[in-house]
Assembly symmetry: C2
Homo-oligomer: 490 residues x 2
């Protein structure tokens, strides 16, 4: 039997007893149980779904102290961040409870018959949605609550009427098992089957691949690396019956700063940006990994200010020893690819030091290695000769969760072109503030063109996240009894 | 230089002079020109888009007699059907013109700032959509107008703000070139670039593959076989930057008839179904290729009635010699896989004869070959022992554009279960009428789980078809000048 060992993030020492990896039989059993739970849950009403989601939020909050302490040991993210993340997780469970209760999953378009022959005449049609089926949900390393067992993927899938099989992240195994215990208690208390939300764990990719391949699984949801997500998407595509795979992958999140703003308040922007780059030790999918400047004295001054501000940051430990190794390797790779290091210090075994480098736009555009995400407290300054070259840099990036445009307050040919360029490659465009921090709200879009997402038309954060798990169906000449269900699946 | 030859469908004889296949350079030039046209078209207003779409509809209608005559020579579909299809094509161009003019592509969700820290507090957000970019559109064999140069894919992509490069179908090359000539005239008359809608042609899959691989192409839209669509989807996925590929593929379109209805009006249903199976020589993606019955005397009688009614049908010629060969091979394959032929006649060189076969549910479920679509006037009766076994048959089908449920007028455990089973595998569920004929309307859903579509959350017919080409973007703290554009891309 394969064993898994949780690790104390700050020391690299084993934490607690080893845990058994899920066997192939256990993976299959979870998928089958989710399939068995699907029928009743898919036809549950909004009130039932809301009651489950609210009880799950309450269970997290009730055990807050213990959960946060455990999460802090396993991730080193600190109690302030982790308490905030637990708040957010409970908030989004309740938000999807409200959405379920409002009946959003049961929305329907009523399209009455039009007399006469085609093309104008048509039979009575109704357009509504059905839940896809059991979702294979892959937890992220960097959000032990909000993108994990009870994170947004689980909340939105349950609200849509889909059971969930969670693949726990090895970076916070004890916490995941503890939260899964709470889930099991809530399911039992509400008279719901254990298979509605279950969990598997494993050290390699074998359990996850087996889960995605299981015939009962109808969709995948993933937050993590481009490499891991691409591999699982290929598995989803290679099934005898391919299924949608929603991967939220890597992203460099360019920050474009226009010269006039830089001249006016460079020092302030440098401090803000340094904080965002090192926040959570840079372990955010929206961490600003690229800063695009136009040549000029204000940019020279800003680079100095940012180097100084970033040097003053003291990041905490990274989530796992593997991620620290990947960060160190990524920094080496970036320098090897021709980036000029402005700030490169060895760090301690416990925590890395921030990394900052600079490169010319032409080189950045020519060398794909320079466009790879370095996950951690790292950013690359790209120096462009003109606004037109800034646009070429964005085109070379091609896809990102966010683009931040500072200094586009006034309309001009240049700002219009930059906004068009930014919107053309990003899921979210910010005009103030920093990209780290993704609000859970109606208009949010957390997903963009490749490589930031496998399905750029969808979002993994915000109200529209539920749409990933609902498939449209048209009913033609539906009988009265079915129409009376008003969009609720049978 | 590779040459292409149009064929008279009814005789198999060459029609007109040979045409040159597009060279790789021509394919690249079309994609690049579409990329160059994207900027202005993506920021065009609804009125501009509507004017183009309406002028295209008018141009089709103005040359109706000539176009229908040419289409009839190349496809053998007959003037009644082809005039109706031209009407439908003009209708959907005008429908997307209306949609563009109403500003549907510019819809936005305004999500004002909420004071306070996260998770409840958040910055001002707006959710709107941007056009994806140039679309590679693959024409279908079986709809020389409605799923071709100016079909629904082109109309919805243009309405969304996307240029289109059409891959002409070799089954109606002369018509496609004639229609493309009209398009070029309209573009010129409206002062729009020729690259906004252009066309390539080729005999093998090389030009299509090259088109999908071109960096300027942002999405694919395809109507055709599961094999062809899967191959192109794999190309789209294997790009350095994968793109969405919307494939509307093969479908068996099960028709489930409940015993009571069969007993009451079996003869009438048999006549209706025989007409639908042989309509257009069975060359519809929604042709009823499976009929699922429960054992009993009413089913035995119905099978006789259907056999007689289908034997009385005289299908016209198939679209191309290759499709006729594929039909004959598909019939052999079905019989070889164990289906009992009820109606199997050789046909003439000009036209096939309808094929009808029968098989038990257990065999159907066990043998995947029996579930393959036979494109043409063909249907397979599946005999189930119970309503539960009917559900297992639907489960084995797994994905279909349509399921038709005749006799589910009253609510019961059985009808609820059947509706759930049908909605679980289909994009459209019909309770009356036949699946052939897909209304162009607000609630339509033409797309379902694999193998009927590559992207089952989307539709290729109806108002929602435009959504395939619009990607959501969230704007955070957008400046006033940008908000004043009210969702219109820069």
């Amino acid at each position: 039997m394969k064993m898994l060992q949780s690790i104390t993030a700050r020391t690299g020492q084993p934490l607690g007893e080893p845990l058994c990896a899920s066997t192939p039989e256990q993976v299959d059993a979870c998928a089958s149980a989710a399939g068995a739970a699907f029928g009743d849950w898919s036809s549950s009403d909004g009130g039932t779904r809301a009651a489950l989601l609210r009880a799950l939020a309450l269970a997290l909050e009730a055990d807050r102290a213990e959960l946060v302490a455990l999460a802090d040991q396993e991730t080193g993210l600190g109690p302030v961040r982790l308490n905030g993340e637990l708040d957010r997780t409970a908030f989004q469970l309740r938000r999807f409870a409200d959405i379920a209760e409002r009946g959003v999953a049961f929305d329907f378009v009523n399209d009455p018959a039009v007399a006469g022959g085609p093309p104008a005449g048509h039979p009575a049609m109704v357009r509504q949605r059905v839940p896809l089926g059991p979702v294979a949900m892959f937890s992220a390393s960097n959000f032990p609550f909000a993108f994990s067992v009870l994170g947004g993927d689980t909340a939105s899938a349950l609200a849509a009427g889909c059971p969930v099989v969670v693949k726990a992240h090895t970076g916070h195994l004890l916490l995941s098992n503890r939260v899964m215990g709470l889930v099991a208690e809530v399911l039992q208390a509400q008279g719901l089957p254990a298979g509605l939300v279950s969990m598997i764990q494993g050290g390699g990719n074998d359990v996850g691949v087996r889960l995605v391949q299981h015939p009962a699984i109808a969709a995948g949801a993933f937050t993590g690396s481009t490499r891991g997500g691409s591999a699982l998407q290929a598995v989803a595509n290679a099934r005898p019956r391919p299924i949608p795979f929603y991967g939220e992958l890597g992203s460099t999140n360019p920050v474009v700063i226009l010269p006039a703003l830089l001249a006016a308040k460079g020092a302030e922007l440098a401090a803000t940006l340094a904080g965002s780059i090192s926040l959570g030790c840079g372990q955010f999918c929206t961490s600003p990994g690229l800063i695009v400047l136009q040549d000029g004295p204000q940019s020279d001054a800003f680079v100095q200010q940012l180097t100084t501000a970033l040097a003053a940051q003291t990041p905490h430990s990274m989530l796992t020893p593997g991620m620290r190794q990947a960060f160190d390797a990524g920094v080496e790779h970036m320098v090897g690819a021709g980036a000029l290091a402005l700030l490169q210090e060895a760090g301690t075994p416990e925590a890395p030091r921030p990394f900052l480098a600079q490169v010319g736009a032409a080189e950045f555009i020519a060398r794909a290695e320079l466009r790879e995400e370095v996950f951690g407290p790292s950013s690359l300054i790209v120096r462009a000769g003109s606004a037109a070259e800034v646009l070429q840099v964005l085109q070379a990036v091609g896809g990102s969760l966010t683009v931040t445009l500072w200094g586009a307050d006034n309309e001009s040919d240049e700002t219009r072109a930059l906004v068009r360029g930014a919107m053309g490659i990003a899921g979210r465009v910010l005009f103030a503030g920093v990209p780290t921090g993704v609000a859970v709200t109606a208009a949010q879009q957390h997903g963009g063109p490749w490589p930031s997402s496998t399905q750029p038309m969808t979002t993994s954060v915000g109200d529209a996240a539920m749409d990933r798990f609902l498939r449209p169906v048209a009913l033609q000449d539906a009988p009265a009894w079915l129409l009376a269900r008003k969009g609720q699946p049978c």
